[in-house]
């Protein structure tokens, strides 16, 4: 069995689910954060023999960890809708507990999990743009001058790992495992993107570039939640290769 985990409104996850199903990746289940929130039963064991997890959803599905052959993990956070009547301090505590719990059972799965959970994101590490630019430079990608000061207002794009919103000159490269997917990418960009994904320890990564009039590709941001639909058949081939190949 394969799993796709995401927020209920994640149409990239929905697309991947439908398309992979049509390619014969069966059985495949799409489970949303809201379905997890109302799960009837969770049992997660950690001991000297290893780890195991079983959960039962309200729609009758029961998932055992050992049945899972691969996970496309696009969970951002855990839904706390069902705690709406609790005091805020209790809701926050419960949300922290659930995030910690999800990180553990996802990490415990022996199969490929794209992406593995981290302390700063259930579906991979969200970095500030300053850190991404630093890593991109280490990976051999071209980077522009970046400046930061306590006197400038907080920039929400920077917090999400982007220099700015996309423009007509923005080119996007998506990494899925070893596969580098994009259009008209110079060889150095392909190599640099692979290296960046390695440095970032993130298997599914969207990397954005600003391309100038001299066709130079400058790194402009990255996200562990790539726009999968943009990859089309090539992206589905990459996912299928990883999941069938394990």
């Amino acid at each position: 069995m394969w799993l796709i985990l995401s927020a209920s409104h994640d149409f990239h996850a929905q697309w991947a689910f439908t398309q992979l199903q049509q390619r014969g990746l069966e059985p495949i289940e799409w489970i949303t954060d809201q379905q997890f929130a109302y799960a009837n039963c969770w049992e997660h064991y950690v001991d000297q023999q290893g780890c195991s997890v079983t959960f039962k959803l309200t729609d009758g599905r029961t998932i055992h960890g050992q049945q899972i052959r691969g996970v496309l993990n696009r969970l951002l956070t855990f839904s706390t809708d069902h705690f709406v009547l609790a005091k805020q301090s209790e809701r926050l505590y419960a949300a922290q507990e659930m995030n910690a719990f999800f990180a553990s059972w996802l990490h415990s799965l022996p199969c490929p999990v794209l992406n593995s959970p981290s302390a700063t994101g259930l579906s991979g590490r969200w970095r500030h743009i300053s850190e991404w630019i630093w890593l991109a430079y280490q990976a051999g990608l071209q980077t522009d001058l970046y400046q930061e000061s306590d006197l400038t207002p907080r920039n929400l794009y920077h917090m999400q790992g982007q220099l700015s919103p996309p423009t007509p000159s923005t080119q996007t490269v998506i990494i899925i495992g070893q596969h580098v997917l994009g259009h008209s990418m110079p060889p150095m960009v392909i190599t640099g993107c692979r290296e960046l994904a390695q440095l970032a320890q993130t298997s599914c990564l969207e990397i954005n570039f600003s391309v100038d009039e001299k066709e130079r590709w400058f790194f402009s941001g990255a996200s562990p939640l790539p726009a999968l639909i943009e990859t089309g058949e090539a992206g589905l081939d990459a996912l299928a290769t990883i999941f069938f190949g394990w």
Binding site: C41, W42, E97, A119, H128, W134, R154
Partner: protein, 309 residues
């Protein structure tokens, strides 16, 4: 020059600043409570990081700092913001200053104790436990569940179990007793972590780079940190020397988590089995140093200043 970030009066900070002074190493204090008189900027240009930190009118080029020791508290909880309404400019400015600081030291190619990202593994105890196990430390048998029947089975099997939070929040270890059966249904709201109680000797190991300081803790409390509340007496701390192999494993574990400084909680059973419960990435080591005299602060200061101890 070393940058110290936090509250100057906090003992772990005080001990390190004293140690730096004893080593003849200059330091600058980023006193969080003084945020209104501080400013910071940095730039990243083709892999080179430069910038300026200004404190009370004094200006410090960031390139002059060779190390950072950071024990930042939550900015929004600073006493100077206690009477500030939510989302005021003062609160936002304090937050942005601290974020600029953290963004800088997260990437600066200098010695940082500890960077933010590696400290994150502690946000999930069972997640961290899986990382710890790779170094040969035994994990206590654990179930995390919202199913009361599963807990009942676990208790029936092991007879002595404890429960605690999964994350680092409200992390107080409590013994599960018959009195808790009546409220076990509450876990249906949120999975809770239960563990086999492991008998043995608590050992806290502080690792600073490759230096190892081990302390044995004697207490009848379930959680010796709260021994006075739990059993009426404080714990007894004694310096001990670990076998070389175990000390090396502690160093390797710390490094594998990307940490320079860690407080590792071990328990050694009468059989000699070594369990590891947690790696604390921001250890309040002063409690142990004050009881044993171990030169932990000196080791931190020496590492920051790149001096051998």
């Amino acid at each position: 020059m070393i940058l110290i970030c936090g509250i100057p009066s906090e003992t772990p900070i005080t001990l390190v600043t004293k140690a730096l002074t004893n080593l003849g190493v200059n330091y600058v204090m980023f006193n969080q409570r003084n945020f209104k008189n501080m400013s910071m900027r940095f730039e990243l240009n083709h892999g080179q990081i430069t910038g300026l930190l200004s404190i009370n009118g004094h200006h410090y080029p960031l390139e002059r700092f060779q190390g950072v020791y950071t024990r930042l508290m939550d900015v929004q909880q600073l006493p100077e913001l206690a009477t500030e309404p939510p989302n005021t400019l003062v609160r936002q400015n304090a937050q942005i200053l601290h974020e600029t600081l953290m963004h800088w030291y997260e990437i600066a190619p200098i010695r940082v104790v500890n960077r933010t990202e590696p400290m994150g593994s502690n946000f999930s105890k069972p997640y961290q436990s899986q990382l710890i196990s790779k170094h040969g430390f035994l994990p206590p048998e654990t179930i995390i569940t919202n199913n009361p029947e599963a807990v009942q089975c676990f208790w029936n099997k092991h007879k002595q179990i404890i429960y605690k939070s999964i994350s680092g929040i409200r992390s107080i270890v409590q013994t599960f007793t018959e009195d808790d059966l009546s409220r076990l249904d509450l876990i249906r709201w949120c999975p809770t972590q239960f563990q086999l109680f492991v008998p043995g000797t608590n050992i806290r190991v502080h690792v600073v780079n490759t230096a190892v300081f081990a302390t044995s803790i004697d207490s009848k409390a379930t959680d010796y940190r709260y021994a006075v509340n739990q059993v009426g007496n404080s714990a007894q701390l004694t310096e001990v020397k670990l076998p070389d192999e175990l000390a090396k494993r502690c160093v390797d574990l710390t490094q594998s988590l990307g940490l320079i400084f860690a407080g590792i909680d071990l328990k050694i059973t009468p059989n000699g089995d070594v369990y590891c419960f947690e790696v604390n990435p921001s250890p309040a080591y002063s409690y142990y140093e004050s009881h044993t005299g171990q030169p932990i602060a000196e080791a931190v200061a020496s590492y920051l200043a790149n001096k051998s101890t």
